[in-house]
């Protein structure tokens, strides 16, 4: 595949990932990363969470979120390595690391979210 045909699609994934990450992560990470562990807010009961997550729509939604967010990371991180660390000559390896990583991550996410509980 030539650059020209993949680059636009990767960019779309990156952008979509940027949007969902910007909208969703702050609240979620605040809750699960700080508020619950530090006891500012008591965590939801297992039953409630299981019900929410048990719904196929939420799991499908989470899968889309994970894939987009991973591709967001892959694309941005790739350019950060190119420019920030000036590693453009290692293009091949970097692409493998970033997009390969995103693909692998997406597969894991798919497995976790789509296999019936």
């Amino acid at each position: 595949m030539s650059k020209r045909s993949t680059e636009p699609l990767l960019w779309l994934l990156f952008s979509a990932g940027g949007v969902v990450a910007a909208l969703l992560i702050p609240a979620l990470l605040f809750l699960f990363g700080l508020a619950f562990p530090l006891g500012w807010v008591s965590p939801p009961h297992y039953a409630h969470l299981a019900a929410v997550l048990g719904h196929p729509v939420s799991r499908l939604g989470l899968l889309v979120f994970c894939v987009l967010a991973l591709f967001h990371w892959a694309h941005r991180f790739r350019y950060a390595l190119y420019d920030g660390l000036r590693l453009k000559h290692l293009e091949g390896a970097i692409n493998l690391l970033c997009y390969g990583g995103a693909l692998a991550g997406s597969a894991v996410a798919g497995y976790l979210l789509l296999t019936p509980w």
């Binding site: 990450a21 992560i25 807010v41 969470l49 929410v52 799991r59 920030g84 990583g101």
Partner: protein
């Protein structure tokens, strides 16, 4: 450019300044840019964190409790605190600095000013966060 291009292309006497390796320390705006790009690492971390949570919930109540305990370990809290600050950088830059300039939204033939798009984004963010809170906290 008759004869000119060849003559000038590899001119020995031009001074070609070198870009320092840590070029992004040279300016505040460049530093902010690099931090912004690095936020993506923490986006990826959050995906991992989220999947661990989902996995734990899928396994049952004990695993969920174990996840909660693990996430209260000081190291993890610290990591998540750092992650949150980067994610906030990401959200702020993305919603209020980047996308307002990347989109040309037209309303009745006039281009919406960037500030209006930013305001729209803020509303979207508040809404989404409220839904998240509602879903998680019930």
């Amino acid at each position: 450019m008759t004869g000119k291009a060849q003559y000038t292309q590899f001119h020995p006497r031009w001074y070609r300044p070198r870009v320092p390796v840590l070029w992004w320390l040279r300016r505040r705006s460049y530093l902010l840019f690099v931090l912004r790009e690095l936020s993506s690492v923490f986006v990826a971390w959050f995906v991992v964190f989220l999947l661990l949570l989902v996995y734990a919930v899928a396994q049952g109540p004990q695993d969920y409790q174990r996840f909660l305990d693990w996430s209260a370990a000081p190291g993890i809290i610290l990591l998540n605190a750092v992650a949150l600050s980067f994610v906030v950088i990401h959200s702020v830059t993305w919603l209020f600095m980047l996308s307002p300039h990347a989109m040309a939204v037209r309303l009745r033939g006039r281009r919406l000013p960037a500030a209006a798009i930013g305001a729209g984004n803020l509303v979207a963010w508040v809404l989404v966060s409220a839904i998240v809170l509602f879903l998680v906290l019930g």
